[in-house]
């Protein structure tokens, strides 16, 4: 395809070719056919970054999960078209169908299945994006995930069942199979656990359509609104995107075993994508400025959820007037739910399910582009009336919310606030010592609950997303699923002419890794001599506990 065509024109060309009847249709028409209306109503008011847009002083506006979904689907449509053309020319398309137990002629239904999975890939997200998952993880309320985080998986499965049953029935009849199997296939694709490697690479893998879109989309948003991530962001703009994607697809093929093979330029651009993604995490999503602010929101969300799930009295107040559904009041605490189900079962799953239930109700009553902040505001309103809590802790909550509110109202900028609340510099440790550090810091946080918040975050692996396998026999293995082939040698030597010949593994991209975790001390009342003492205690506790700090702490 001609890279000089505009991005919009490109996607329309692909969309037209996608039409089974060969008629010309715009991308929007194809999109509307593919994506059920329910997806729009779920995703439209969920911002792409949770609360981060507000911290930058910008209303999320178009930077929503819904628009990201459309972007990812555009890319997937184009990508699928490219690979399918290759599969057909190589005579491998039939093999793919057979492998899935589908009959000949089901090509169109398979395409729908894959594209639908991309369209619904974010359906498991609740307000606050990944921050919510972190909150639950820190209190051990996340059931063992199947691929996605436990919470996202829970919500995904519930929503796919609740909102899209008609779709599964329709696709089931097209494919002559059980609608439950269609739903299971889409769930597996979204969770990164499907057995068709090249399709899995498009939907959920270290280089999937989701990442291709969000790295570009977020870079564009950052470039327009802040200088926080510095100048090394990937190129944006419609023509550049089209050019980039054209090159990225150019040397891709699917081999006889269904593996997506990246040779030459395709491999180089895949490496660039992984590099850019890690850069965004390091310099923006998990940067100390952002984390300092998010840690305050984290505290409010966590304290609210603990009470909403565990205390019947709190729960009744917290959810009053938010739902016309009385079942929420009657089963929204752990005790009630256990009585109702007459069994304990997996307690983490139960708690996680309750959190999802509560948040979906809170969010459903606030359908605005600032939905997440209004939910946060509601949480704080409930917490501030908690008279059984120590006054010092309540003061800290108030201070957290005040700071966040000032930021949202643009009375202060993120850099000014971060400067005020961040205590000294971050403490950096090896990622493999994250769990050890977490256990060391947990009791310290309790000791200083009235004065400061301690934040611990690890940078993600270079190969994010996709399914990972965790073997425990003879040796422990934690490795991404092998769906993609890349050239031999270190990533820096991939280049023109290099042929795909080995699986994309953690080892293959070792050069890209930033295997670190960071500890921050956040003082909502402002950094002072007391909070510096806490910082010093944190550092000493980590060192005493055997954590090796990567950089020696120095006074700013």
């Amino acid at each position: 395809m001609n890279g000089a065509l505009s991005y919009v024109a490109e996607r329309d060309v692909v969309a037209a070719e996608y039409c089974p009847e060969g008629e010309r249709r715009s991308f929007e028409t194809c999109f509307a056919e593919l994506v059920p209306e329910a997806a729009r109503s779920i995703l439209e008011n969920v911002s792409q970054w949770g609360l981060k847009e507000l911290w930058l002083g910008v209303a999320p506006g178009n930077h929503s999960r819904w628009n990201h979904t459309k972007g990812a689907l555009t890319i997937a449509l184009w990508w699928y078209h490219h690979l399918n053309r290759h599969l057909t020319s190589q005579g491998l398309a039939k093999d793919c169908l057979r492998q899935l137990g589908l009959k000949e002629g089901a090509e169109d239904a398979l395409r729908k299945l894959v594209l639908l999975a991309v369209a619904l890939h974010d359906i498991g997200h609740l307000p606050f994006a990944h921050l919510l998952g972190e909150v639950l993880e820190s209190i051990n309320w996340v059931p063992e995930g199947k691929g996605l985080s436990g919470l996202e998986q829970e919500v995904l499965e519930a929503r796919l069942k609740e909102h899209f049953q008609g779709l599964w029935n329709k696709l089931g009849s097209e494919l002559s199979c059980n609608p439950d199997s269609v739903q299971a296939a889409v769930t597996d694709l979204i969770s990164g656990r499907h057995g068709l490697p090249w399709a899995q690479a498009i939907v959920n893998s270290p280089i999937d359509a989701d990442k291709l879109d969000y790295v570009q989309r977020d870079s564009e948003f950052l470039r327009s609104h802040t200088s926080i991530a510095g100048g090394r962001l990937p190129p944006t703009g419609k023509e550049q995107k089209a050019q980039w994607l054209t090159e990225f697809f150019a040397e891709q093929q699917v081999n006889h075993a269904g593996m997506l093979c990246l040779s030459g330029r395709s491999a180089v651009l895949a490496a660039d994508l992984m590099r850019d993604r890690i850069y965004l995490y390091d310099r923006f999503y998990l940067s100390p400025e952002i984390r300092a602010i998010e840690r305050m929101a984290f505290e409010l969300i966590q304290q609210f959820l603990i009470r909403a799930v565990m205390s019947e009295r709190f729960s009744q107040t917290a959810t009053a007037g938010t739902s016309s559904d009385h079942s929420l009041e009657s089963t929204s605490t752990l005790g009630r739910r256990m009585e109702a189900e007459d069994a304990v079962g997996d307690i983490r799953k139960l708690k996680c399910g309750l959190v999802a239930h509560i948040l979906m109700h809170l969010a459903s009553r606030r359908r605005t582009s600032l939905m997440e902040f209004t939910v946060l505001e509601h949480m704080y309103e409930m917490l501030k009336n908690e008279d059984s809590v120590d006054a010092g802790v309540r003061d800290l909550w108030q201070q957290c919310f005040d700071q966040l509110w000032r930021l949202k109202e643009r009375k202060v900028s993120i850099s000014e606030l971060a400067k005020r609340v961040l205590v000294r510099e971050p403490l950096v440790l090896k990622r493999r010592q994250y769990d050890l550090a977490l256990e060391i810091l947990r009791p310290l946080q309790h000791v200083y609950a009235r004065q400061a918040l301690i934040d611990l975050v690890k940078l993600p692996r270079a190969l994010g997303g996709g399914g990972r396998w965790r073997g425990r026999t003879a040796r422990k293995v934690d490795e991404v699923d092998w769906n993609i082939l890349v050239p031999e040698g270190p990533i820096s030597r991939w280049g023109a002419g290099s042929k795909a010949c080995r699986p994309l593994t953690d080892e293959a991209v070792r050069e890209l890794e930033r295997p670190y975790a960071r500890v921050l001390v956040v003082a909502p009342f402002g950094s002072d001599v007391h909070s510096e003492y806490i910082w010093d205690r944190v550092r000493a506790a980590l060192l005493e506990g055997g954590v090796e700090l990567v950089r020696r702490a120095r006074r700013a």
Partner: protein, 327 residues
Amino acid sequence: MFVLGAGVSYGIVPLLKDIGAWFVQQLPNDDQHKKAHSLAQNLATGKASRGEVAELFSLLQSEKKESREIWRRFSEAFLLGSDPKITMGEQGQTPFDGLLKANPSEGHGRLATLAANHAAWILSLNFDGLTVKALIEGGAAGVALHSAEDVRRYFSTLDAPKRVPAVIKVRGDVFYARCDNSLCPAAAAEQALDRLMRDPAQSDLRCPSCHEGQLLLQFLFPGFRSKEEAAYPILWEARGFLGPRVSAIIIVGLSGRWDRYLLEFLFDWAREREVPVLDVKPNGEDAKVIESFWQTYFKGRVNFHFINATAEEWLPEFCRKFDWKNP
């Protein structure tokens, strides 16, 4: 994914106890062979421990002249069906015509159909090569992958003209052949038996490499640890590529008595992928070994089902259910 044990080839290829019975008949019961004779007796009656079987094969493959002669006769009987023949079955009533002439059973044929239809992957502990033979006879090409490198090359090949189904061979207690001409390169390398089975008219054990020397059978019966160490690389490699493609692990004709490492590996795989494990074999002496392993270590974490049937009985029914025919 199917995991095949010796039971799949029951009645076509001799079991270890049939081989034990042959040695009981062939080994002179004198002082020199007393030890080997008694060990062979235990093997024939199913009473031998793994250590005893290892000792027996070590004695039989020693460099002593008498041992070499007996082993040579065994090699010919095993591969070519020469006299004195090895016999199979409970009463020793079925003469074995040699591995090179052995034909796949209906069970092998069904498995080959599944593999050719891209509906199943096959992991085999058998040295007989009958599933690959069934693939070839069924009209589809088939390859046996004997090492982790073979597996990686198979899945990572870029320009294969078409997909050829593969059988992944897990190295267990395995027969290999080696050329007795010390100048031949094949004298240093182990030849997998399934690679010798291409020519049904083959009438002697001539080395395919030098055509001068004779192939001498080698039996690798390592201790538990060496066996595990030899098997893990190919198992992990297979798991890397097949992990998400497996929807059930179906063990057919494997007692599991001497393959605890494999059971642990397979159940761990099933746990990680949340797929069920099925154990297909007829009720008998070792029928509950795998179930007992599951109950001790994986109950509540992996779904397990025991199916009381032979491969011959169960596989056609399984294929019929899914309407898989020859491609």
